[in-house]
Amino acid sequence: MASIATSRIKPKHQRLVLLVVALVVLVAAGLLAAWALRNQASYFYVPSEMQADPPEPGRAVRLGGMVEEGSLKTQADGVTIAFVVGDGDARIPVRFSGIVPSLFVEGSGVVAEGRLGPDGTFLADNLLAKHDENYVPRELQEMSEHQTERVVAAPQ
């Protein structure tokens, strides 16, 4: 049995064996993690990117942009909302069932977590909006800075 096999190993070598086994497992864990991260990480898209190069349907991604004025509609069940997220270049329709964050309003920024449906509608599981002055989702913050720059740069 294995116990007999190890006992034949010279005293000096046991530590080496343990070290090698531990390293092999840890390296395997690292490789596995790297492989899984490439497949499972959820990428961030803005609407124009999503239109140009859409993610495969069903893959978990995030979509960030501005909620278009006048696009927000509550459906008959009272808990599903539909709206359009845009970035000036492209528009993506989004559907979400649930309790929306309190600062989620038309004309403000939003990050939606979810997946792209087969019909091109983004099905959101979760919406991140600004919670308060101090807590803004990171992408949202940088996005609005970026957009401010664009607005400032654009000719009046």
């Binding site: 049995m1 116990s3 190890t6 531990a22 899984a36 499972q40 990480a41 009272g78 929306v100 807590y135």
Partner: protein
Amino acid sequence: MIAEFGLAALWLAAALAALQLLAGSLSLTRGGEGFAAIVRPAAVVQGLLALVSFFALMVLFLRTDLSVQLVAMNSHSAKPFVFKLAGTWGNHEGSMLLWVMVMGLAGSLIALIERRLPERTMLATLAGQAFVSLGFYAFLLFSSNPFERLDPAPPQGAGLNPLLQDIGLAFHPPTLYLGYVGLSVAFSFAIGALITREVGPAFARAMRPWVLGAWVFLTVGITAGSYWAYYELGWGGWWFWDPVENASLMPWLAATALLHSASVLASRNALRAWTVMLGVVAFSMSMVGTFLVRSGILTSVHAFAVDPERGTFILVLLAINIGGALTLFGLRAATVTEGKRFALVSREGALVFNNVMLSAILGIVLFGTLYPLVTEAFDTRVSVGPPYFNPVSAIFFVPMLLVLMVGPLLRWRRDNLSRLRRRLVVPGLLLLAAVAALLAIGGIGVLPFIGLALAVALAAASLLPLRGRNLRRTPIATWGMVAAHFGIAVALFGAASESAFTKETLVAARVGDVTQVGPWQVRLDAIEPVAGPNWTAMRAGLSVRYGEGAVRQLKPQARSFWSPPQQTAESALLTRWNGQLYAVLGEEGEDGRWQLRLWWKPFVTLIWIGGLLIGLGGVLAIVAHVANDVRRSVAREKIADRRMRQGR
């Protein structure tokens, strides 16, 4: 005056830490032995001064002294007393002051009571502790001064984030900090032992109560934090793989590995270099966690300081401490002689397996947490969540649980698995029964399925070390081990049951509407406005009924705070022995209907009960070890006493 007094105490404490480091280092050199006498007193006074400084800040918060910038930015005179108190550490500067205070007090304690180790190792340990503390003192004094004055003082403070205005906050961060910082003692012991090359059972015994203590605080802190997130955020989840949660999980994983390897070192004098290494890694993970949370590099509710200068400062501290310790380890590891040997099938073998698996899980969590930072450097935005963490960590968690069933039954040094065959019959049968039952229910995901089946078998297997024993004479340490392992089974069952059997309903309801969720009937009776000290809310009155049982009341609120202005959902929970009903009130629609979100979560409470059982196991282990140590030192004194008398 109090602010200046606190700041002065902080400077003095830093100066004493410098003295402690200097005297400790000199006392290890030839001819410097005279400095040894200074080290322990310096450590004690340093800890007390840090405590004084922390109390000063607490007084400022209780008085709502708005001339202090930190108080003005984080407090408000209309806040209830408990939250004024908790406000002391509910912000970046205050929490760092809490950190150095705990670290200083830990140093004081080892300086006062630890007498078992060779004195040179103790001096090196205290110097190491002072070195780490000094970095954090510098961080506080130069880039995060909590006592900064504000001139002119504003008429009113900005208030505390309403999400943080919860009784959970009063205890959650200090508990976690005690855990993080308690590991600094293990780190310093490891450094001390490496410097003097005294790695052995005595080192492990000295370190073990600290590791256990820190681990208990981490366990309880993580459990409490998870429950807090569960009921306060109103999202119905209990673990989100948020970077901040990972930051507390990583030191916990390392500390779990460390306390198991320390027990091998203490009882069998094996795994010497490995234990030292884990001592370094465990505290390093605490510091990595602090860096991730406090640098604001990852945004979350916990990120108080979004300030690149502070992030850089912590990063440099991290590099110096971890880099230095690992270099020292690299230089000295080869000179740590190998411990006693053991066969593959033995208690040691099982514990090595446990250690390797825990380290692999730690690596996976660390990779997943850092990956978004790495890709961001290449301008790609990603986030990593449950689809990565759950299955990948399960690959290592499941084998670990399997070995956990037999490990405690194995003998030290060498054993034979065939000896255990008969004892494992009961867990084996339970495993088969659970698999059959789950197949009969059907429709359960792979991971919850494995989790439920393993939890049932592990619950039985974890009790086996008690079988055939006289329960009254069973050592407390064994009870501790059994409680902790049983707790893992309980928590796993709760988590798997929650993800397999949760029922969710989302409706827009008018007053009088009845909704069904799982076995519950929920009727919306009324919506009424209510007001608190610094908020107003809309409150739903719900009549709920389990099956044909009695009608009970639930009152979730949608709350609006006015300082700072923010809305939160106050969920309402109803606990039964077999699970919890969870209700959240949303907004009112244009047609007058109110959004209601309801969950029925069977056995969800077992998650936290299991967590507390694991912590209880740690407490029992500490009691056992401390009682042993006391008994041993009493016996030693008696022998010395008798010898003295006979000598007369």
